[in-house]
Subunit: 431 residues, 2 copies
Amino acid sequence: MTKPLRIGIAGLGTVGVGTLEVLSAHAETFASRVPRPLTVKAVAARDQARDRGVDLDGYEWFDNAVDMASGDHVDIVVELIGGSDGIAKELTEVALANGKHVVTANKALIAIHGTALAMAAEEAGVTLAYEAAVAGGIPIIKALREGLVANRIDRLYGILNGTCNYILTEMEQSGRNFLDVLDEAQSLGYAEADPSFDIDGIDAAHKLAILASVAFGTAVDFDGIHVEGIRHISPIDIEFACELGYGIKLLGVAARTAGGYEQRVHPCMVLESAPINHVSGVFNGIAVDGNFVDTTIYEGRGAGAGPTASAVVADILDIARGNPVPVFGIPARNLKPAQTVDMGRHRGAYYVRLTVVDKPGVFADIATILRDHEVSMESVLQRGRAPGEPVSVVMTLHESLEADVVNTLDAMASLDTVIEAPCMIRVETFA
Amino acid sequence: MTKPLRIGIAGLGTVGVGTLEVLSAHAETFASRVPRPLTVKAVAARDQARDRGVDLDGYEWFDNAVDMASGDHVDIVVELIGGSDGIAKELTEVALANGKHVVTANKALIAIHGTALAMAAEEAGVTLAYEAAVAGGIPIIKALREGLVANRIDRLYGILNGTCNYILTEMEQSGRNFLDVLDEAQSLGYAEADPSFDIDGIDAAHKLAILASVAFGTAVDFDGIHVEGIRHISPIDIEFACELGYGIKLLGVAARTAGGYEQRVHPCMVLESAPINHVSGVFNGIAVDGNFVDTTIYEGRGAGAGPTASAVVADILDIARGNPVPVFGIPARNLKPAQTVDMGRHRGAYYVRLTVVDKPGVFADIATILRDHEVSMESVLQRGRAPGEPVSVVMTLHESLEADVVNTLDAMASLDTVIEAPCMIRVETFA
């Protein structure tokens, strides 16, 4: 009988407790699947007195997770504390330096320090596994790193934040405004009390940084990502989108282009019929374009104790079997710089909504600005209101350089007849 | 430098040539991803003279693939010959017995001889890999066996045959009948000259047998699968389905029930809004329900040189890395008997279409038969035609035992007023 693999769990929130439950619920099956027995040896959290609804008596307790990772207490440290720095980072560094495998659900940590941590893991000859950090219910890291390994990945895009997708889905279905639906999402527990990480796109960007690294073999580049959230999406844009045959989704997009890698998180108009548009509510969905497989799509729950713990345990079993795959698919020292392309150099189609005073000559001014910036209009809609009231003018623009579009909108914004900041949403034409 | 991993490819059809192309296109990337260099050493096919559009000069040639698998020519045999028996089976057995890894795209071989071959592989300490056998573009075997390993899989269902899905999609969109669309599919190369493997559900059943085994840890049980194809689906059923809010798909379904495992391939009515209903044309889609992840969905191309070769090469790279996972996730000797439940014991909802003579009393007879068999109707539609002509009566039945439904339909068929064999399609209410 080989020695058991000793697991230490740091952080006993819902995912930590969920991981204990998954390991115990299917212990017998796991024993038949891996050559080494798994045993939870230790747990670490701040407050030992708190009732977590689970019996912790059999485990060695650590108030300080870093102590658990030092010495010879465990073989795998499961980091479920969260946060890109502080204790989570220290714990991970100490664990790797002490020759312990690390399994983490911490997207911020990997998105910001992933390359350095991967190098530390590979130098120490241990695994740093993070399937749970991106779309827990979907084994997308394994799919990209192993299942689709034969392909050059040219693009991936996805709905990476369930909170935003829930809010946009609800706005579309009920016609309510953003703040109303956010409020509801908070009361249902789908959004945090401080929702900015989700609704400003940061959480999605963390996940995109990780996916792009695995897909392209590039160093993780969170700072290079262009990030916009969904605060500015209004019911009127959702209505116009619908009229034009589109839905609005917050997408993370990573694409290989002639000029380098694009990495961007922002609301997108996507064709009503596109598979990604059918991913609703709190679900996540990721599409991957490989040069040999064409497009493959993955959908599932992105958060919650069950899906996240499922991914954590899959990583633990991979370690128990000894699946020797580098952290990002290729050795971390060989990851190329991401050289993320500036958003101004993005080429794409655009939706623009202007609020204008309804008087003669407005349209001529707008058309002149478009012509002067060599940006070409594909279609235009004008929604009439009561006489004398401001009017919404909606345009879609043919594929253009983003820098040109930004200049065009700046010029339009400076017209006296344009009375609100123009609203711009990028249009993506995924098949 | 470790010794190169010597690959021998048996079968040089489109997938064999595609595999050579993938291996050569990304040779440099692969070298950075695995610790052993890969080298194609030998190829085997019947006709050396045939022009395959690819340079074969650098490889040792074998007219007989079994000779390539004997002796010390290669370390991995890639079996792309096809067929459940004959040369493909002999080649695989000889390769395993000689301590060579086998990578195969052969669903029939694995569906019928998978358990025995897995035992042979595990005894010899080599890998038998078959990602390419099921939905090539989707790494579903890896997802089930590794990515979702923490879950008890309660059900999986999917569109496993692109030919059938293309035909049903075209029938729905154009209103044309089955034979018309089959004819078109044949001329487009989406259906074989002898299409029965596809349209009678056998190909889908091969794949379902493999998926069920990996999902449930049961021995492969192709013979236990209830298989129906799509020949009997008529435009009128597609029309009625649409009116009732359903689409018609050929699905493979494997489910854990109180009485045992259901394994079945047949046309299903699925809710128009269900994600699986949005998988159109030649695409495959598979939904997996795990007890911790809930439902996860995978979509992509199921066939073709690129997607299939992508899966073959992913398996080769797994072997080169030394990912030591048992063939079906648990050691083959521990696979439980499948104990597939008889279809008569299936409980579900049903769509039934009767063609009746339009005269008084018909409905009373039908209602009496339903009552006598304790089968309860959920809704009924009658489509009027010209006076005196036969009438279509469409019913949906509440959840019932299939044996009762079959008896009910037999009794209805024996009525003088029912002038065609009743058409029955199962209704699945996937969320």
